[in-house]
């Protein structure tokens, strides 16, 4: 088989960078980073070609570095979403796009080039302009993938408190719930949410007493952090 002589597609990696802005604040919102571009005018997700003998992970890091201007912790998972393979999707050349999602705390996106656009409850963008190419579908797939992770009601399984670390520790149950609501796009039942989440949290103690948050109004809430299960690493 003459492997080298077959025509080969250009392979690009497109990235849906999702975050929750204002996590811990009064109205956190799930957002995606989009960038305006010129060749065909409009908005698109950041992305780039895989360079010779690079991996997807290295390409993602490179796109984040050169196109977005941020440095992404190499331990942050890169989630495969979808492959776009319509041979005519890029009018310039035969290219396939491998769409990935990366979920980052807002602090990791400080100084990023582009715009953080809030995502509607149904996974679409409230934009007058649709995204170029098939990037609207990528955002929807990224949001679906994230929402699965933030579901806390699965049978026989402990919930995970903010698995993608949008919310810095320590936090109150109220803040945690607001973040989950922002991700899921729907209100959650307070009682049930608290009951389930407490099982996987531990209160922050000082001198054996729970540390309380300083609220604007009302009774101060206890502060929690994610419980360290044994066999669990401290870092993600």
């Amino acid at each position: 088989m003459d492997l080298e002589t077959f025509p080969r597609p250009g392979v690009t990696v497109d990235l849906a960078l999702l975050t929750v802005i204002d996590a811990g604040g009064p109205d956190p919102q799930l957002c995606v980073l989009i960038q305006s571009r010129t060749d065909p005018d409009g908005y698109a997700l950041p992305g780039g070609f895989i360079r010779e003998r690079w991996t997807v992970a290295r390409t993602v890091a490179d796109v984040c570095d050169r196109k977005v201007g941020i440095t992404v912790d190499p331990t942050v998972p890169i989630r495969l979403l979808k492959v776009f393979d319509d041979p005519d999707r890029d009018e310039r050349t035969w290219a396939i796009s491998i769409a990935h999602a990366v979920f980052l705390p807002q602090s990791d996106l400080a100084g990023a080039r582009g715009t953080l656009v809030p995502v509607d409850a149904d996974g679409t963008l409230p934009l007058p302009e649709a995204l170029r190419f098939d990037h609207g579908q990528i955002v929807a797939a990224a949001v679906d993938s994230l929402r699965e992770r933030y579901e806390f009601r699965y049978r026989d399984a402990d919930p995970v408190a903010d698995p993608d670390f949008f919310l810095p520790e320590p936090f109150t149950l109220h803040q945690l719930r607001k973040v989950h609501e922002a991700v899921l796009g729907e209100p959650l039942h307070k009682d049930n949410f608290n009951r389930r989440m407490k099982k996987v949290l531990e209160p922050v103690l000082r001198d054996g007493r729970p540390v309380l948050a300083e609220n604007l109004r009302g009774r101060p809430a206890a502060l929690y952090r994610r419980a360290r299960k044994h066999g669990d690493d401290v870092a993600r």
Copy 2:
């Protein structure tokens, strides 16, 4: 940007074809199709390079046709699993592999080249020889993907009876449960399974009376088919 002059990877599609053999019989089993190969000797999943300007779907159909010798219904979903991008994974050239799974009834695999190997409960193959490349991981990912679909206990959601049509209609609740058990690799509770599944099934009637199966022993069981929800197409 000089798109055409960048070195490009070879892109292959590797396929985990999963089926349940003996569906409806006494001991159905979840199997994957593997093929023996010579270049490096051993077993591997069927796969092949994407040809110029072909889509993944067309490549999958081509691999099934030329390498496996079967014709796959174009409406059967092709599920993206994983991208293998280690630049040294193929010693011959820079190639990335996009692994997909296809779930087929055994009848669609009649005459297929290769061997149907049963999958262990933990998603591994009971093989003395491991699969070439990273194909063992692909099988595990394919099994995971399938098992998610055959879970019937999700909250607030109706279960789906044999969503990948391993079992031909009509069937008894016993046969349906055996198929789900084969996929999930664990025994299911009969009472609960029947109660939940009945909601999405309808009994097969003749002259207004339920049609019964002809059993070897015991009281004959009623036959069911998947209920047609309105807005649901007859075909998959």
